[in-house]
């Protein structure tokens, strides 16, 4: 398990970029952490690390956004997903095994549906307002 401390959204994004640059395809990155924790900032960085030029916005309403860079990126938001039927209707299972990268915000809501191999990224608040402690578990070094 790796542990990182960031003190601004920019630093969280830079961490994401580093993670994105090392991705090989097929990874499921499960993000855990509440509102304003930095999940979308990290995802923005991951997208940049994958060479995706356009901006990344939160998929709260569309449930999933799709981007194409060095690898395809499927950005899910499970905030409104409450049942297996909801989860099926997002197409989540169709995206697994496509060779693209899945980034899943609000993984808390679908924890039992995550594949064993999922990389778990947890956000915790630190001492100051902008400080975040980000732990990454299950990522190949």
């Amino acid at each position: 398990m790796q542990k990182f401390t960031t003190v601004s959204p920019e630093e969280t994004e830079a961490l994401g970029e580093k993670i994105g640059a090392g991705l090989k395809g097929g990874e499921v990155l499960a993000l855990f952490g509440g509102m304003g924790a930095g999940k979308t900032a990290l995802t923005r960085g991951i997208a940049r690390g994958l060479g995706i030029p356009q901006g990344v916005s939160s998929p709260t309403f569309a449930l999933v956004h799709e981007y194409h860079g060095r690898l395809a990126l499927y950005h899910f938001d499970m905030y409104r997903v409450e049942s297996w039927d909801d989860l099926y209707s997002t197409g989540f299972f169709d995206y697994l095994g496509t060779g693209g990268v899945l980034v899943v915000e609000w993984s808390e809501n679908i924890e039992n549906a995550l594949p064993e191999s999922a990389v778990r990224i947890c956000f915790q608040r630190g001492k100051s307002d902008n400080e975040r402690i980000i732990t990454v578990e299950g990522m190949d070094p």
């Binding site: 297996w84 197409g91 299972f93 924890e111 549906a113 778990r120």
Partner: protein, 236 residues
């Protein structure tokens, strides 16, 4: 009767045009791209290359599941859109029934299986006699182990078909059954199989208006489990 048939229920997608059992054209892609981007150009190319006016199609057929959630919706929505202008009759076909057509020339039992993840498959079983496929059980979600147990009672030889065929074939439960794994050319559902199954369903009076097409979703047993982990159950 001209039938335009479409399948986009799993990783591959295909479109076929048939007339009185003859396949006038078929377009098949298995490159894992999103069907929302590939299916319509395939149908367009098929019509163009067979010099067929879409208005001359008498019946639309589509596999309505089981299969991938988004794939099934793309197939049905596409066919609905094509059929609605002239209110052309439509037939929804079970994906498992359609793939059984691949092996209808054999004699024995066809076990149609699609990978539903977590050791589960979508399955139906058919008796084939060299000409037709007779359904023995309804489409359902079942574990590979339970299916192997059930298959012991069917008359051999046992032929597997579908994207779950390899999964079953390589499982320890299927090993003693001596099941046959067909070659790639016969392994997956095809739009021409959808057309063939639709022809039969049409004769049985099962055609519906475009608006009457409905997806058929089967849930694997994992749906019984809670989706969210309970407090304390979660790993730290």
């Amino acid at each position: 009767m001209k039938i335009l048939a479409v399948d986009s229920s799993a990783a591959a997608a295909s479109a076929a045009l048939t007339q009185e059992g003859k396949i006038l054209g078929e377009f098949y892609c298995n490159v894992g791209l999103t069907h929302s981007q590939t299916l319509m150009p395939m149908i367009g190319g098929l019509l163009k290359n067979t010099r067929t006016d879409i208005g001359s199609v008498d019946l639309f057929a589509v596999s309505t599941g089981p299969g991938s959630f988004t794939g099934i919706r793309i197939g049905i929505a596409s066919v609905k859109g094509l059929a609605m202008p002239k209110n052309t009759p439509c037939i929804g076909v079970s994906t498992l029934r359609a793939m059984a057509e691949n092996l209808a020339h054999l004699s024995g039992t066809v076990c149609a299986v699609m990978d539903a993840r977590c050791g589960q498959v979508y399955n139906a079983v058919f008796r084939v006699d060299g000409k037709t496929a007779e359904r023995l059980v309804p489409d359902r979600a079942v574990s590979v182990q339970a299916l192997a147990e059930e298959c012991k009672k069917y008359a051999g030889p046992l032929f597997l078909v579908g994207d779950g065929a390899g999964l079953c074939y390589n499982s320890p439960w299927f090993e003693p059954l001596g099941a046959v794994l067909p070659p790639e050319t016969l392994l997956y559902q095809r739009a021409s199989g959808v057309a063939k199954a639709a022809e039969e369903a049409f004769r049985e009076g099962k055609a519906v208006s475009p608006g009457g097409l409905r997806p058929v979703y089967l849930r694997p047993a994992q749906a019984e489990r809670a989706l969210k982990k309970k407090m304390g159950e979660s790993r730290k």
